[in-house]
Symmetry: C2
Amino acid sequence: MKFNIALLAGDGIGPEVIDQAVKVSDAVAKKFGHEITWKPALTGAAAIDAVGEPYPDETHAICAASDAVLFGAIGHPKYDNDPSAPVRPEQGLLKMRKKLGLFANVRPTFTFPSLLDKSPLKKERIEGTDLVFLRELTGGIYFGEKGRRDNGETAFDNCVYTREEVQRLAKKGFELAMARSKKLCCVDKANVLETSRLWRETVQAMEKDYPEVEVSYEFVDAVAMRLVQWPNSYDVLITENLFGDILTDEASVISGSMGLMPSASMGANIALFEPIHGSYPQATGLNIANPMATVLSAAMMFETAFNLPEEGKAIRDAVNKALAEGMVTEDLADGGKAYGTKEVGDWLAANI
Amino acid sequence: MKFNIALLAGDGIGPEVIDQAVKVSDAVAKKFGHEITWKPALTGAAAIDAVGEPYPDETHAICAASDAVLFGAIGHPKYDNDPSAPVRPEQGLLKMRKKLGLFANVRPTFTFPSLLDKSPLKKERIEGTDLVFLRELTGGIYFGEKGRRDNGETAFDNCVYTREEVQRLAKKGFELAMARSKKLCCVDKANVLETSRLWRETVQAMEKDYPEVEVSYEFVDAVAMRLVQWPNSYDVLITENLFGDILTDEASVISGSMGLMPSASMGANIALFEPIHGSYPQATGLNIANPMATVLSAAMMFETAFNLPEEGKAIRDAVNKALAEGMVTEDLADGGKAYGTKEVGDWLAANI
Ligand SMILES: CC(C)[C@H](C(=O)O)[C@@H](O)C(=O)O
Ligand SMILES: CC(C)[C@H](C(=O)O)[C@@H](O)C(=O)O
């Protein structure tokens, strides 16, 4: 098969980890007889510096015309202490999500047995943790009307959801639950928020179409607790944009494997794949960043965007082998030898 | 001194744990020569059953005329699966907060050395944790306009904050930081929300009035992570209502001492004190609930509402002694002998 993949390296360590994912993907393509054409495009602070815009139209055109988007990370310290600066990398992220229609952010949290002791949680609490959040990504308070009144003395943000927005996200949640252990948790604040009540009633109405799925409804504050207490009691969780932002980040640190976590953002026509970690500016150019989360994001791309599970598995197997053999960057070296970003990427490509 | 204290026992285990706090408070009053008049009043499901209203006007009148409010817990399973029921215990809670003007919820999370191994987190992560959240409690998306449009197909919740609301909460935060280790963290989502940008700019403008306080600004998703990774890196945190709901609950489970955590909600004229745990309906009437969080809430009442630190310390000392001597309920017994709610209360009162 032939694929065009938009390549958005972004800022900080983005370019370095993206390079390794390209290398590994090319090795997979070669082995399985596919042909990948990479379409690099600017985004984030790098795009602001170059063209004054964090998600330029040209980048959007490239993404929209591709079969998938592979994304590194964006964000640069020079924007960090001024959240009201007129142009910020994050705005590019939000614009990209909206314009590409990426309404479902898929964030797995799972454990690698060899990394359990990296977790802040006790081993017996996290063993076997394997959960997936589906976070709604193009609605809610992120995209509602916002502004000031009373000469700037009053600020407001509107949170809005339509039944249709909830349905398309929940549908992905039910489908994912069917493909996994048939357990779905809808996370909301229906005891306080009207949007949450819409979420809950919409999901409740869909239960009859998936009679095998066992659905539970939990308040966001309770989930914030139970995620730390018994993360392995969850399987598929669906939630709205802001709750998802908070809970997926919370969940990411419990597994101890945060540096390895991939993610996907899916829309009707296109999907984007990226590591959950940020642009880690301090490490830029040092050849120390762990490329595995990005490489595993490429595995998710083969599996979910191209429907090629064998190809995805080849990548996962290589990563597992690297972990077992200590072919790791310094974050995972634990006193043993640490390899560079590029060396780990080369090794993974050679082991496909 | 003479005090009138409104006594809102509420639902579930509320009445049992409140009884112990009354006993202990009376012992303190006796020892230090104070006179307490308790003013019991209905609230929660108990109030709905009795008068059809979770926070009746009569209860409000009693609270408003008191020197402080001591609160148990509210919530009953019969309301749990229908968040859109016309009358719910939670509505009473929100109405009470609004009508009493309780704008600042004070939620400490600290560790008891003897309970460290109850935490889901590794010991070295939580040792020394001693943080306090100040959660804004009468504004934000909880109290903004909410409703439906398009024949119920679209739902909305408005999040609104005024500079004044932020200032009065932040002022308490700066003052608390001055009385503690002079570190204040403002938690927001200023990279996305206009209300958060108002929070941040308001707090930034107040920094000059407290030159000794070191202020940091962190995004809510980052705090959700770091609370699990390094809870002991925080001291005083201030945040808006919904973020506070999620983060204070998350923080409460990390210490391993959740069953012992008190809280206060303060307004301009009156303050309310309550354990952070819920109504725990399954344990109702079984004489097994741990009364210590409620007893420690009474300690906070003496300290902060009545400005009587000695009296508060007498209660804390009794609780520490009970923990050291194994005079505990089953949740803390760990294979040793477990005492009843009432027995622990009697022992604490006798040891004042
Ligand atoms: C950078 C920020 C706007 C973004 C978000 O809140 O969605 C980030 O935290 C994320 O989760 O991808
Ligand atoms: C019961 C609910 C309305 C309440 C809240 O969200 O404020 C509770 O979770 C709390 O934190 O006191």
